[in-house]
Symmetry: C2
């Protein structure tokens, strides 16, 4: 059985939980708070020198960090990850898009508004984060106006990766009303069997 070191309120950790639930894989969850510094202890850094959750502990005692790598590992050989060379690349295209162009804006805006005090100087970052986050949502909207899911015409780990911080983008000050195709896709993702909410 695998163990997830994760924070329940983190979208990156939620991705792993959602995949484990939908793949019916048993797991243990050990709550680790990034906001309380629990990813910076010597004990945690021995598991993941980059000091981030989620980190997966494998059955053999090894550790696998990076939500995208964990999703790929869990989904290999299942319907959540297609087998074809180009389809797999399309799944990864959207997972890299999420980690580079989406999460650093939408998740970070959410983190500033949820975890920083109201007078935090980090609030000055919000306009730029929100502008770049809206650009990422517009790229998603354009794709979802033509396709039901992000890759291979069906629900995959690319959808799990993008759902995690899109469905709660309002927490970061984003108005999803401007993105109807994204909203329709969010509803399709929520309708997938064994869906569980963030938290």
């Amino acid at each position: 059985m695998v163990t997830v070191y994760g924070m329940a309120d983190s979208g990156n950790c939620y991705k792993v939980k959602l995949a484990l639930e939908q793949l019916r894989l048993p797991y243990r969850w050990i709550e680790v708070s990034t906001t309380k510094g629990e990813t910076r202890t010597a004990e945690f850094l021995a598991r993941n020198p980059n000091g981030q959750v989620p980190t997966l502990e494998l059955a053999d005692g090894g550790f696998l960090p990076e939500s995208g790598a964990i999703l790929h590992y869990l989904a290999e050989g299942t319907p959540l990850l297609p087998a074809g060379r180009l389809e797999r690349a399309r799944v990864l295209q959207w997972m890299f898009f999420e980690q580079y162009s989406h999460e650093p804006c939408i998740a970070v805006a959410r983190a500033i508004l949820r975890y920083q005090p109201p007078d935090s100087p980090r609030r000055a970052e919000l306009p730029r984060l929100q502008e770049r986050g809206r650009k990422a949502l517009a790229v998603m909207e354009q794709h979802l106006g033509k396709e039901p899911f992000f890759a291979a015409g069906r629900y995959t780990i690319a959808d799990i990766a993008l759902y995690a911080y899109t469905h709660c983008a309002a927490d970061g000050g984003f108005d999803l009303g401007a993105f109807p195709a994204v909203n329709a896709w969010l509803a399709r993702v929520r309708a997938e069997p064994r869906h569980v909410p963030l938290g």
Copy 2:
């Protein structure tokens, strides 16, 4: 034959060039300058709505963006991408690390120093970028003190992904002298058959 839309001085585009050369795959290269706004034209956005290079045009006329997805697509079935489930996840672990924790600091510091005027207000970002970039280099140093390459004990697309902006980190104001295991790995990567330089 595939076509690369890329900028010769971009490390993200260099990753694709290096993989194509080492895999002995024929390709066309179309130079697209991000600094001249050539990724923001309607013509280019039709190829990649996210407006980034590299973007790969496939033989069938489809387009594949995201350097990590392109590397995975090109390397599938070759020695540059191992076949085992956990080894593949380890390759992706380091490729996601590169795009999330390394490139946004080291490549962005380099871009500010190379492409922005000396009086650019963006220079104020440099201390934070350099602090976070050094943290990424320290994570690499720790790994490379124990392993010759990033995954599977051999040269893979994870090494290509991390080499691209590590070998030119001095351009971003980083002192690689403090990271001897990283330097030894850079030399191993340069010694791989059919290595080509950036540019």
